[in-house]
Point group: C2
Chain length 343, copies 2
């Protein structure tokens, strides 16, 4: 069981910890050995976890890995995420004049880094939402139509997405459903932009530089370093004279796919039937949990991603939540999973 | 004589004040009445100066107005700016989801306000640097070829502009010289952009909103409010579903043109010949000094713009400067102007 920093994830993980405690109140011992692994660097790409896993591999040897950091498909309907998107984080910097310039004296004479940054970002997608970085889609694996077909029966509508997002319209790549766009299609998102004057009123300058934080969600079999190189080459090719364009790779994680038909997967699916009275939904996740690739690489084990949070938990946003009801159900589910292993 | 807040401008203005003091050391009285008007709100559009001028119009009644807030054409070569560009400052805001969203969970599903802002800004110009806002150039007055032709003989090269700007290449609207682009062509500049996460490392969000500070330098006979309306209509027409686009007028000032052949202009030009041994260059200024339109409107007098600063004074930038040598020469010039009026 692996816990990281977010509120929603902490709630999910605590339900497993409390489930273990609850089991030990009624039993002398656990039916299986459990190792709890806690780490606080997941949001910056887990730079030290790989070394930790390698050093402690003998103590961490295990048959299966469980991570609860994903979502139910709807309240009361847990889901197993068979896949996750990977991520490549890239910082883009456009450098122009050696200092901020008076936009009256120099406006019209020299390129404006803020304008050039906007032009670069605007060229990332075409009018249909397709990403225009050469080679970006080269390694995207085809997805079985049986898997995507089953998603049509999930209790999940575009209206739910709009409501959870607080948005008035959907967007993104044309030709794919909303679930496909978030689960099996890669993205290019602008996470932040910084340029020139940002205080109250106005300051009439041509900023010396402008920068953007970008993240690319990746799907099997895209590679974050490869994508970061393609991104950097794309922006370099679009730079106009008078500005210097630099795209640097910040961190990344591989996309992931694992079967839900392992012994742990089958135990969890039975437990979901027992506690929730329904089948666990077999889904994918749009987010990235780079550590699951590390677990696979160092410990040689796939990770079962059991989602106990709610789709509207406001992850990475103000007022992130995990309902107490989900905590209670999570404890019961954990007890039922241990029960499966005991029998 | 009118003084405002910038270092360069203060230096220029002090040379007039010290010139007046120097005259009074050697003479009983001034040959003409002088009124010094000081104001500290020019950079925010002088919101209170109009009322002040109206209330005090009788005390401020004058034959001519002198402002030194522009540049020499080169060290030791003062210039009279016969025209100035106006300005329209506009704040652009793109509002999307009700809060920042997790870019893994929602990336690909909803429009990203930072990306949409970049697309809006990228559409302001076409590939030749022409501004694509409908009607933007409608009121641009033709400029006499005699005036622009004389600029070819100014001691001023593109290399000087590159050096003063600290830029490696020039940019802007094709088909015009650098002086024309900064003196008699309007511009659309991005002064600042704010969106999403701007701290160290990365934060994988779809920002709830993104905004930009824009300023448009205007030439005769463009009107700042008219331009702001055209800008707002342009951006509104480009908004995609799921984002709300709002462009608000912050402040502005009219473009300006005045003849250098007034009594004050002729006195100044004689004084320049006496002190600097050369003709004052007759130029325009790319910057905006909105108060000159106010002076004209309320006091009914044109303003002579006598430039005593240097082109590389770093106006609106760190380490803005005014050389002491220019202060000394400015004092001598002011004495010579008073001499003209005395005789």
């Amino acid at each position: 069981v692996y816990a990281r920093g977010a509120t929603d994830n902490k709630g999910q993980t605590f339900s497993h910890i409390l489930g273990t405690q609850a089991w030990l109140k009624d039993h002398r011992d656990l039916p299986v050995n459990l190792i709890y692994l806690m780490e606080g660097e997941e949001e910056i790409g887990s730079p030290h976890l790989g070394e930790f896993l390698r050093v402690h591999a003998p103590e961490l040897a295990c048959d299966a890995i469980l991570v609860s950091d994903t979502s139910m498909i709807a309240p009361g309907h847990p889901a197993i995420a068979c896949g996750l998107r990977g991520i490549a984080c890239v910082n883009l910097r456009v450098k122009g004049p050696s200092a901020d310039l008076h936009s009256g004296v120099f406006g019209g004479a020299v390129p404006n880094p803020a304008t050039e940054l906007a032009r670069l970002l605007a060229q990332m997608h075409n009018g249909t939402g397709r990403i225009m970085i050469p080679g970006f889609y080269d390694d995207v694996a085809a997805v079985d139509a049986v898997e995507t077909g089953a998603w049509k029966h999930l209790p999940y509508t575009d209206d739910d997405v709009l409501k959870a997002a607080g948005s008035t319209a959907l967007g993104g790549e044309q030709g794919f459903t909303t679930l496909e766009r978030t689960w099996i299609r890669p993205t290019a998102e602008v996470n932040g932009i910084t340029a020139g004057y940002q205080g109250p009123g106005s300051k009439t300058i041509i900023p010396s530089e402008a920068s953007a934080k970008l993240s690319f969600r990746l799907v099997p079999n895209q590679n974050p370093v490869d994508i970061a190189c393609k991104v950097a080459a794309f922006f370099a090719s679009k730079a106009v004279p008078g500005v210097e364009v630099e795209a640097t790779y910040d961190h990344g994680g591989n996309p992931y796919f694992a079967s839900p038909d392992t012994p742990l997967g089958l135990a969890v699916r039975t437990a979901v039937r027992n506690v929730f009275g329904r089948e666990a939904a077999l889904v994918r996740g749009g987010l990235s949990i780079p550590v699951v690739s590390l677990f696979k690489e160092v410990l040689g084990r796939d990770t079962l991603l059991l989602g106990l949070g709610l789709p509207d938990c406001a992850a990475h946003s103000p007022n992130e939540t995990f309902p107490l009801e989900n905590l209670d159900k999570g404890i019961a589910l954990h007890l039922s999973i241990l029960e499966q292993f005991a029998t």
